[in-house]
C-alpha cells in the first residue's frame, strides 16, 4: 500500500492535508541541500507519488531528474500559491526532447 506526499511551502500545500495526502512543508527560502535530503528520504519510503510545488521543483531539478528512470516514486510538479513558473511543462518538454530529439509537441507554444 503506497501513500501520496505533497512537498512545498506550507501556504501552497496545507489544503491537501484535508484530502488525506501527507504534507511535507519546506520552509522558505528553500535550502536545496536540506530539501534534497528530505526528498531522497521520502523517495526511500513507500510514497508512490510525490507532488512538489513548482518553485521548489526549480530548486531541486537535478534531484528530481535522477528519479526519472525509477519506476517509483513519480515526482510531479504542481503550481503553488505563487503561481506557475513553467517547471511542470518544462519536465514534459524534457521527456519529449529526450525521446524525439527535438520538441515537437510544445513548439507552437514557444512561438506564441
Amino acid at each position: 500500500m503506497y501513500k501520496i506526499a505533497v512537498m512545498g511551502d506550507y501556504d501552497s500545500i496545507y489544503g491537501f492535508a484535508a484530502l488525506g495526502l501527507d504534507i511535507v512543508p519546506v520552509a522558505e527560502p528553500f535550502d536545496p541541500e536540506a530539501a534534497g535530503r528530505k526528498l531522497r528520504e521520502m523517495a526511500g519510503k513507500d510514497y508512490a507519488v510525490i507532488y512538489i510545488t513548482e518553485s521548489l521543483a526549480a530548486v531541486l531539478e537535478e534531484e528530481i531528474d535522477s528519479y526519472r528512470m525509477e519506476k517509483l516514486p513519480a515526482i510531479i510538479p504542481i503550481p503553488g500559491v505563487s503561481g506557475n513558473n513553467g517547471m511542470g511543462i518544462k519536465m514534459v518538454k524534457k521527456s519529449v526532447e529526450q525521446a524525439v530529439g527535438t520538441d515537437i509537441v510544445f513548439q507552437d507554444k514557444n512561438r506564441r
Partner: protein, 232 residues
C-alpha cells in the same frame, strides 16, 4: 578497418555470416520497436499536456479559494482545522507492460468511503470559503493522479526510446558495416589463398614432369641435332 584482427578462416567466416544475420534481424526488430514506442509516446505526451493544463488550472483556482478562506480566518483556526485529517488516501500500484516498458498504474483508495470526510473540521468556526476550497481541491485529485501516472509513463518511455534509438543506430552504423567489411576481407583473403595454391600446384606439376621426362634437355639435344643438319 577492423579487418586487422580477424582470422581469415572459413570457420570465422561462417560465424561472422551467422552473426550478421542475427544483427540484421535484431536491427529490424529494434527499428520496429522504436517506431511503435514513438507512436505511443506521442499519444501519451499529448494526453499528458492536456491533463497538465487542466490540473494546473484546477490547482490555481483552488489556491485562489484558499487565499480567500485565509483572508477571513485567523492562522490559528486554519491550522487547527487541518490538524487532524479524517480522510486518508492510499494507492495501489499495478504494472502495465507497454512494448516491454513497465509502466506503473495507480488505483487510489480512501480510508473511509464518505465523500464528506474531506472536511476535517467543525463548520462552526471556519468560513464557507474553506469548504469550497477543499472541495475544489478534492475534485481535481483524480485528475492529479492520472497526471502522475501519465507523466511517469512518459518519462519512462522517453528513456526507453532513447535507449532503443541508440541501439538501432549502433547496429546500423557500426556493427553491421563492420561485419560486412570483415566478411568481405575474409572472402578476398580466402580467394587469394586459393589462387596462390593453384599456381603453386601448377608449378610443382611442371617441376615433377621435368624431373621424370627431362623435357628441357631433350629439347636441347633436338635443337643441336637440327642445327647440325642445317649446317651439312
Amino acid at each position: 578497418m577492423a579487418a586487422a584482427h580477424v582470422n581469415p578462416t572459413r570457420m570465422e567466416l561462417t560465424q561472422l555470416k551467422r552473426k550478421l544475420g542475427t544483427a540484421m534481424r535484431g536491427h529490424k526488430l529494434l527499428k520496429d520497436k522504436r517506431d511503435e514506442l514513438m507512436r505511443q509516446f506521442l499519444d501519451l505526451v499529448r494526453e499528458n499536456k492536456v491533463l497538465r493544463e487542466r490540473v494546473e488550472q484546477g490547482i490555481q483556482s483552488a489556491n485562489k479559494n484558499f487565499v480567500l478562506a485565509r483572508a477571513v480566518m485567523s492562522d490559528e483556526t486554519l491550522k487547527t482545522a487541518f490538524l487532524a485529517p479524517k480522510q486518508e488516501v492510499f494507492l495501489e500500484t499495478d504494472v502495465k507492460n507497454v512494448m516491454s516498458v513497465e509502466i506503473p498504474q495507480f488505483h487510489y483508495k480512501t480510508r473511509t468511503s464518505d465523500a464528506n470526510d474531506i472536511y476535517s473540521y467543525g463548520f462552526a468556526f471556519t468560513s464557507a470559503d474553506l469548504d469550497d476550497a477543499v472541495k475544489s481541491l478534492a475534485d481535481i485529485l483524480p485528475d492529479m493522479l492520472k497526471l502522475a501516472e501519465c507523466e511517469k509513463a512518459c518519462q519512462m518511455m522517453a528513456t526507453e526510446i532513447e535507449k532503443t534509438r541508440r541501439r538501432v543506430n549502433a547496429l546500423e552504423h557500426v556493427m553491421i558495416p563492420e561485419m560486412q567489411e570483415n566478411i568481405r576481407y575474409i572472402t578476398m583473403k580466402l580467394d587469394e589463398n586459393e589462387r596462390s595454391t593453384q599456381v603453386r600446384l601448377m608449378k610443382v606439376k611442371d617441376m615433377m614432369l621435368e624431373q621424370t621426362h627431362h623435357y628441357s634437355s631433350r629439347y636441347d639435344r633436338q635443337a643441336a641435332r637440327d642445327e647440325a643438319v642445317q649446317e651439312s
